[in-house]
Amino acid sequence: MAATVDPTSTQLEKRATPPVQMFYCGVCTYPPEYCEFGNSLSKCKEWLQAQHPDLYEKYYSDVALKAKLGTISQEAQSRLEEETIKKEAKADAKADAARKKKLASQVIIKRIERNKRKFVTSIRGLEAFGVDLKKAAKLFAQRFATGGSVTKNAAGIDEIVVQGDVSQEIYDMIAEANEDGKGGKKGLDILKGVLIDNIELVEEKRKKDTEQ
């Protein structure tokens, strides 16, 4: 006989309530209905319209806009919108300043000769690109099985010092971490955000007269 469902067992068997399938804004991460309270509303709207036109209609059609006003007064709503514009402008200006600052920042990888054929490599300026220096030093040390640390240089600025001549390798690692489309290789994401064109490789030779 074909299997029949025992009615008593289905009644007794309790089922888990399935989760609500959530959808969040790809720009600000909020549920789209809250994008209006973030500081990127124009970008959020653009994104939603391109990616999910149906949801765009749901949240931004004239009917939806009217409905969401709820009990708030038209005046209060206008103020809210003004504030949103101001917030966006502020966020844009901040992002722009950060971008300019990055563009003007340099990373210097220096090969320093300590003794005859003994080198250390110093890396300066990574912090301007949002890199955690301690983590980066650890990453380099692990990668090259050598010593790596964060120390203050003569000017009192933190820099990474790695034992051995690994300047080219470090350059390559940073380049790999920032290759387009690869989205950061595992473990290298610490180095993400650095502008490759802003890296300079330099060499510091021992002075002849101090050599013995």
Binding site: T29, F37, E83
Partner: protein, 212 residues
């Protein structure tokens, strides 16, 4: 282009803004939370302790065993993420599920609440209060007792100290989680001062912490 609001609504708005600005001094648990410095360590939770947490969740949240099993399967261990100020986050496969302030109740993250909105009782804030909640303010009585707000009816009144989900006027999804400071009937009667303390909300630092 600036609309000129009537004096009445301007006064209302300014008064309210000032009130909220005072409140912004007391921010939620996850305002200015920095994972790199505020997380002390991660430890697996002993199975006896896990059983205790599980039964506490079953008795304090409105959730059945089957659904909890779906969220946090019995055979999988959660990790206790110890943070500063006696704050504990509990994560499964790196995803924060719930947390606990200093001996307070276990509270779901907003993302978990979005998936399972029934686990906490709800209150609703009016549209005017949304932006203040999203800036970290605690919620005042008028934001809940006004026409756009909502509190459970008298026969389902909540006492002070109850974990609640914040719904928002005109919105489908919850915007945060808080703990009542007054009973809901008291909120109606007194109608001033802090009604619900905000603990976590869309866009705060716990919201941003998607992977541990």
């Amino acid at each position: 282009m600036r609309t000129s609001p009537s004096h009445a609504s301007q006064a209302f708005f300014t008064d309210r803004t000032q009130r909220w600005q005072v409140l912004l001094q007391h921010r939620g648990m996850f305002k200015k939370f920095q994972p790199s410095t505020d997380i002390v360590g991660q430890t697996p939770v002993k199975s006896s302790v896990q059983r205790g947490i599980r039964s506490t969740l079953l008795s304090s949240w409105k959730i059945d065993t089957e659904t909890l099993e779906e969220i946090w399967p019995k055979k999988e261990s959660i990790v206790h993420v110890k943070c500063r100020d006696h704050l504990s986050i509990y994560a499964l496969h790196g995803e924060p599920l719930f947390f606990q302030g200093h001996d307070g109740p276990y509270l779901p993250t907003v993302r978990l609440l979005h998936k399972y909105p029934f686990i906490l009782p709800h209150v609703r804030i009016d549209r005017g209060a949304i932006r203040f909640l999203l800036a970290g303010a605690h919620m005042m009585c008028p934001g809940l007792t006004s026409a756009g707000g909502w509190l459970p009816p008298a026969d389902a009144a909540l006492p002070a100290g109850t974990a609640v989900a914040f719904d928002a006027e005109g919105k489908e999804f919850a915007v945060g989680v808080g703990i009542t400071k007054l009973g809901t009937e008291e909120m109606r009667a007194v109608n001033k001062g802090i009604a619900v303390e905000s603990v976590t909300y869309v866009g705060d630092d716990l919201w941003a912490l998607q992977k541990l």
